[in-house]
């Protein structure tokens, strides 16, 4: 994986495996350019954001937020619909790293999982505006439509047991008979 723009398309299983390395996917992919393939976030900001998002939706049998593309979702929106939130993100991410360095001597992405939980809790108390935004945007990116860069391969919908693509509808519907019961 030389670049996150690699032409090799990962299967879901490969992707989940790759994602299990944590933020590594992000870090590896973006070494050549300051912003890599992203539209707004810098490498450092993306790493910090991934640490926060992955505490909001951690990995278990199903992908974490960043593994499911939430960072891509948020980055794209910060360059488009959520331009108005850029300053809140810039300041909030900086603050998260500052708190982490202050308490643990390292940036948030490098802290342990329990330490990250502590920092995210601190952010929730100290910068509610930023926390609420990140939480909402993380949930949007994870549970919303894959068309916006998150919810890769409809991972969350499959997790919830929603048929994807849906089985009800045109494919199973015979218009000559009237509604199915």
């Amino acid at each position: 994986m030389q670049s996150s723009r690699s032409s090799v398309r990962l299967t879901r299983r490969q992707f989940v495996t790759a994602g299990a390395i944590g933020g590594a996917v992000l870090a590896v992919g973006c070494s050549a350019h300051n912003h890599g393939s992203r539209d707004f976030l810098s490498d450092g900001q993306a790493l910090t954001l991934a640490a926060i998002c992955d505490r909001i939706i951690p990995a278990d049998d199903f992908p974490s937020a960043s593994q499911a593309g939430v960072i891509t979702y948020i980055d794209r929106q910060l360059a488009r619909t959520y331009r108005r939130h850029r300053n809140t993100y810039r300041d909030g991410l900086e603050q998260a790293d500052a708190i982490s360095r202050n308490r643990f001597g390292r940036n948030l992405a490098a802290a342990s999982a329990p330490q990250q939980v502590e920092i995210v809790s601190a952010i929730e108390r100290q910068n509610r505006k930023f926390f609420d935004l990140v939480r909402s945007h993380t949930l949007e990116g994870y549970y919303g439509s894959p068309r916006h860069g998150g919810n890769r391969d409809a991972a969350s919908w499959r997790m919830l047991g929603l048929a994807e693509p849906p089985v009800l509808g045109r494919a199973q519907y015979d218009l000559r008979k009237g509604p199915a019961s």
Binding site: S156, L160, G161, L168
Partner: protein
């Protein structure tokens, strides 16, 4: 531009019907719509960008850029709102208006809903009033709406409705699983449940096929065009007469008046932003409660320095919508069957008759919750983030039922639309400023309704429940916005007469939810449509203008 008989501003639920009724009666009509004309291909199933979940914008207008409004909070502080933010109180801006993407519940108000003041008396501080017309006046027009727009359902199982001459033209959709769970529970409680009337084809009707029961319904354009709004019923009929021209992406700037104070047409910005004038004999304002009031207020002249039809400071007052309350129940078994639209069963037992309180509302199960719509609807005590939240999504996504309903708001004169003194839209027009609140008793009734919803869910076997009965600190008009150009016999307390004609200007009509004196305990779409048919019939009957009747 050629002078026409009528300019209608707004091609929504009401404007589309007025266009059809007047053009088929032989009047020449120009129908102005600020938005675009979408098709079933614009469904897109984008759960982050539609008319219900708008975090990435409204799919069917208006766009965030250049269309602000101002909301004044309870402390009197104004906030600029984008169309994608809740405080904006958006409906839609497109051909069909809200009816392109609505959930399509198609309720008749109850006879009592037109006589709220007579039945209950006006609570202190409220502007509760009777309509100048009755259920019986509207009944033939409800029927006309049901048949021309196309409504499915069956209210024979409940005594709580006004008399009707004909049954609905289509049977209800077959029950989904939530219906099957909730129906016996309601009956055990002594309630009278029945299928929700819907502007949705359950069988082929009006040249289009039936609902395919997908999960992308409320907030979306119907992919198979089985949802019935003005855009796929009356507007095509109006255009087919040859008497009606629809101009999309044209936003009205003001109603033009002559030196005697009568309207002579509408000035509007066309799709290229050029200012145009369309002269006419009659102007009909059908832009929905907030924008209709704004257009009148923006139509200032020497004779109407405070806005057209606003000599008595009534335009924009009595803004209301619905106070939605209810409960969510969490179950030990699957309640989800992926059969849209989801909303299926209702009761009207609680619309009236609660001792000490004015009115009430219907209660119904909610449309299918897409995953993003579930994230803040978790059992009590669920953490907002972390693994427990993710696990709760997995545990309860398919094991919950939401029952809620629109509590009939008790209006106040202070809940109102005015013009913001400084904020302008991208055309340079002053924007709507929303302030005030509905009467506090609305929230009392809302809480009682939520408790009733909870009791129904518990009877249905919910293992736990969470009530939703939050009190809004500002008026919440939203997609059910109504009341800003009240209909009444007395010009002192109303804006239009019973025929939706301005008291002050006899060739200007406001025909949309603005004229609702009260907004019922039901989704208002079918009542908007019935009033549009009623007012159109009066307009055509009284028309002595040039041309069609010698």
């Amino acid at each position: 531009m050629k002078r026409v008989n009528v300019v209608i501003v707004g091609a929504g639920a009401a404007g589309g019907i007025v266009a059809k009724e007047l053009s088929t009666a032989g009047l020449s009509v120009v129908l102005l719509e600020r938005g675009k004309w979408y098709t079933p291909n614009d469904c897109r199933k984008d759960d982050l960008r539609n008319q219900r979940t708008t975090v990435l914008g409204n799919a069917f207008g208006p766009e965030d850029e250049g269309n602000p409004r101002v909301l004044v909070d309870a402390e009197g502080v104004p906030h600029i709102m984008l169309p994608s933010e809740g405080g904006y109180q958006n409906n839609a801006a497109c051909v069909g208006g809200g009816t392109l993407s609505y959930g399509a519940m198609a309720w008749r108000f109850l006879p009592q809903d037109f006589r709220m003041r007579s039945i209950y008396g006006a609570p202190a501080g409220s502007s509760l009033e009777d309509w100048p017309i009755s259920y019986d006046d509207l009944e033939p027009y409800y029927e006309k709406a049901e048949y021309e727009i196309g409504i499915s359902g069956d209210d024979s199982g409940t005594p709580f409705h006004g008399p009707r001459r004909r049954p609905l033209p289509m049977p209800p959709l077959p029950p989904n699983r939530e219906f099957q769970i909730l129906e016996p529970a309601a009956k055990r409680l002594g309630l009278r449940p029945f299928p929700i009337p819907m502007a949705r084809n359950s069988v082929p009707y009006n040249g289009r096929g039936p609902c395919m029961r997908c999960r992308w319904c409320v907030g979306f354009a119907c992919e198979v065009d089985a949802k019935n709004g003005s855009q796929n019923t009356v507007i095509p009929v109006a255009l087919a007469t040859g008497n009606c021209e629809l101009r999309t992406e044209c936003i009205a700037r003001e109603i033009l008046t002559d030196d005697r104070g009568r309207a002579r047409g509408v000035a509007y910005y066309d799709a290229n932003g050029r200012l145009q004038e369309q002269l006419s004999d009659i102007v009909v304002v059908s832009a929905c409660a907030i924008e209709s009031a704004r257009l009148l207020l923006n139509s200032k002249s020497r004779l109407f320095p405070d806005g057209l039809g606003n000599r008595r400071d009534q335009v924009g007052r009595n803004l209301q919508g619905h106070h939605y309350t209810g409960a969510i129940g969490f179950f030990d078994f699957d309640t989800y069957d992926d059969v849209g639209p989801g909303a299926s069963i209702a009761i009207s037992d609680y619309n009236h008759g609660t001792p000490g309180l004015c009115g009430g509302g219907m209660l119904a199960n909610e449309f299918i919750r897409l995953p993003i719509q579930m994230v803040d609807r978790m059992p009590a005590g669920t953490p907002q983030w972390g693994l427990p939240h993710k696990q709760a999504m997995r545990s309860f996504y398919k094991r919950n039922i939401v029952v809620m309903g629109p509590t009939q708001p008790i209006p106040t004169a202070d809940a109102r639309v005015t013009l913001d003194p400084t904020v302008r839209d991208k055309w340079g027009m002053l924007v709507a400023r929303i302030s005030g609140n509905v009467h506090a008793q609305t929230y009392e009734i809302g809480l009682v309704q939520a408790q009733r919803a909870e009791a129904w869910l518990k009877e249905a076997g919910a293992a736990s429940t969470v009530i939703s009965a939050g009190k809004s600190t500002t008026v919440y008009a939203g997609q059910h916005q109504a009341g800003t150009c009240r209909m009444g016999d007395d010009p002192q307390g109303s804006v239009v007469n019973r025929n939706c004609q301005l008291h002050d200007v006899d060739n200007v009509f406001v025909i949309d939810s603005s004229v609702h004196v009260t907004n019922g305990g039901f989704n208002p779409a079918l009542t908007i449509m019935a009033v549009a048919y009623f007012a159109s019939a009066a307009l055509v009957g009284n028309w002595k203008g040039t041309g069609f009747r010698s």
